[in-house]
């Protein structure tokens, strides 16, 4: 974390919402601002009181391009979303939001609550953090608002200026913690290759593994693909350098770092019957151009060339993949072998001889 000293010399601060965005109801804007301030008051002695007239410590306004006497300007849609000024008089403590953005309460556009919470970090004396999981990281990353957005890095930063909340039993909402990479019991929601990398997904996070060297990187899924939800259930790389991600009855297609327009779509557009509600795991066999979708104890086969489901499916997984008798959490193909994951175990399967070669711990790819 980084700080701009000094912070405010008082714990009771006032804020005023000077104007509104037409993108959201006034009530939703009020709620988003109040909730964004509460993020910081939950972990410090700070108390925020709203005023409706005059000059508050934190003046909150929406503007476009050059706005008022502000020394900084906005740049139209995307790019810079908002800015704020460190504690002080005049512009000190003020937060401005670019009205050319699409402000929302959800994951579409830019979530006002999340952006406001970040800007109020500046208004209280924090500068940017290079910790990608921190709220004070400069780039926008969508996190479900139902989760507490402050990382340990953010909390350490703000408490280095104001201290922690006095006498509060540590009722702090659980801060999102990162999964332990070398947890021997680790399991995965989904796994896919991405060109020469292997991507392991779990909750809000993903690990990037470069086979052949010891590098394992833990990232937030939303740092790469802001519009993807956490809790992806299946993923696979097809034959067109694209990745498909599945959650519930929806799927997204990613090309490079971009989610293709028109997604998410319903999985029945792939040919699944209405009764199929989710996908457990999927893998595309690069040698045959066929993708297997595993659901419960059965699997479907999809032909990537004809873009259609093959007839005669579903079939029982264990009949065609002897030894793979448990629900498949995740599966991917590497150097011709399939790696099936269930809980903390994985099975290396040779599709040419249709045999399990060996059983391994799921964490074996992380060089623990």
């Amino acid at each position: 974390y980084g700080v701009t000293l000094p912070g405010w010399k008082k714990n009771k601060l006032t804020y005023r919402i000077v104007n509104y965005t037409p993108d959201m109801s006034k009530e939703d804007v009020d709620k988003a601002i109040q909730k964004a301030l509460k993020v910081w008051s939950t972990v410090t002695p700070l108390i925020f009181t709203r005023i409706r007239e005059g000059v508050a410590d934190i003046m909150i306004a929406f503007g476009t391009k050059a706005h008022g006497h502000c020394p900084r300007y906005f740049d139209g849609p995307l790019g810079v979303l908002a800015h704020a000024f460190p504690p002080g008089n005049g512009f000190g403590g003020d937060a401005h939001f670019d009205e050319d953005e699409d402000w929302t309460t959800g994951s579409a556009g830019f979530n006002l609550f999340l952006v406001a919470a970040h800007e109020f970090g500046h208004a209280l004396g924090l500068s940017h953090s290079n910790d990608q999981r921190a709220l004070m990281f400069p780039n926008y990353a969508y996190v479900s608002p139902s989760e507490f957005p402050l990382s340990p890095d953010d909390i350490n930063g703000i408490q280095s200026i104001y201290g922690s909340r006095p006498n509060a039993p540590d009722k702090r909402p659980a801060t999102p913690t990162s999964p332990k990479t070398c947890d021997s019991q680790i399991s995965f929601d989904a796994i896919t290759t991405l060109r020469r990398e292997i991507i392991f997904l779990k909750g809000r996070h993903l690990w990037r593994v470069y086979p052949g060297n010891s590098e394992v990187e833990l990232e937030l899924i939303s740092a790469f693909w802001p519009t993807l939800p956490p809790g992806i259930q299946a993923a696979y790389e097809n034959t067109k350098d694209q990745i498909l991600f599945f959650k519930g009855n929806k799927f997204w297609v990613i090309s490079g770092y971009r989610v293709l327009l028109g997604y998410p779509k319903n999985i029945n557009t792939l040919g699944f019957p209405k009764g199929v509600k989710k996908i457990d795991a999927a893998v595309c066999n690069k040698d045959t151009g066929k993708t297997d979708f595993f659901i419960g104890d059965k699997y479907w086969r999809y032909d990537e060339n004809s873009q259609s489901m093959e007839t005669g499916y579903p079939r029982r997984t264990v009949n065609d993949f002897p030894g793979i008798s448990q629900k498949v959490d995740a599966v991917f193909q590497q150097k011709g072998f399939f790696y099936f994951f269930h809980g903390s175990k994985q099975w290396e399967f040779d599709p040419t001889v249709k045999k399990v070669i060996r059983e391994i711990k799921s964490s074996s790819w992380f060089n623990c």
Partner: protein
């Protein structure tokens, strides 16, 4: 007219160059402190600023606007500078 068509790759390079300059000027240029006395530090070169930005974002520190760096610069973000505060 007989004007030569702009070569798309050249056009892209110019766009990328402007993106890099705007980004570094906005987020990686330390605003001079009017109250500073004595020697002023030298103005950083574009490569030095790029290295600082790449270091901050955990990218490979090349000092060159490689694709990963350009991709990072295109992400929506906060308008507060990353340095100098």
């Amino acid at each position: 007219s007989n004007a030569l068509p702009i070569h798309p790759e050249k056009h892209n390079n110019e766009e990328d160059e402007k993106l890099v300059q705007d980004y570094l000027n906005q987020f990686y240029t330390v605003e001079p402190d009017p109250k500073q006395l004595g020697w002023k530090t030298h103005d950083e070169s574009t490569a030095e600023k790029l290295q600082k930005m790449q270091q901050f974002f955990g990218l490979k520190v090349t000092g060159k606007p490689d694709p990963a760096t350009l991709e990072m610069m295109k992400k929506p973000r906060c308008g507060v500078p990353d340095v100098g505060l």
